[in-house]
Amino acid sequence: MTAEALAFAGVAVVLLASSLGVVLTPNLFHAVLYLAVALVATGVVFLLLDAPFLFGVQLLLYAGGVVAIVVFAIMLTERLVGQSIRQASRYLVNGALVSLAVFVGVVGFLVHLPTGATRPAWPGDLTTMVGRALVGPFALPFELLAVLLVIALIGALYLARSER
């Protein structure tokens, strides 16, 4: 086994185990912590795919931002109701069947895929190329994204403001 295969196997195990933790633990707060592990593991997968810039973005926005927001929301709703944050699941068998069917369907496509074993070399540093593309051909979508973020955050503030 090469070093890359070993690293991939390790990350895959961590990612799958923490993903199962997200959907199976009864304690919602623990589920969020598992989600943080899963998001960091995904960032490591990005590293294995030669995208260190996306690893940084993943850590900052996902594992930092999203997890912090979700923890805040859980704390708020828990404090308001003053009861435990345990939660039950339902339709376990049906859910497992549907998920398995989706997985089998996707893998059914994958086996017909031509096996891409070789990676073509990047013409340069990915971070540099992403930076140039964001202010070049992707400048308009990038600015629209900024506007969307502002709109969404103002909308979230408006929705969650306290009524007086």
Partner: protein, 99 residues
Amino acid sequence: MPLGAYLTLAALVFAIGLFGVLTRRNAVGILLGIELMLNAVNINLVAFGRFHADLGGAIFTMFTIAITVAEVAVGLAIVIVIFRVRRTVDADHLDLLRG
């Protein structure tokens, strides 16, 4: 590792996230499942972009990550409002729109 390994891993994470969305009763738990599914799609995008030496995969992943953050902020704000009005975030009890 070949492209298929990354795609299979992403498909597994997607299926697990879908399982969470289908089985969780708590609205926040459902949101966490959606996060997992979006994450799996990001792995797919980066893997395809890398194995085809296409910059679009990385750029698009950045866009989906940013849009997901916006989605989570609005979604959790809605959850908090629902909690304030109904005193529960159990998805089975949120049937205001039922005719």
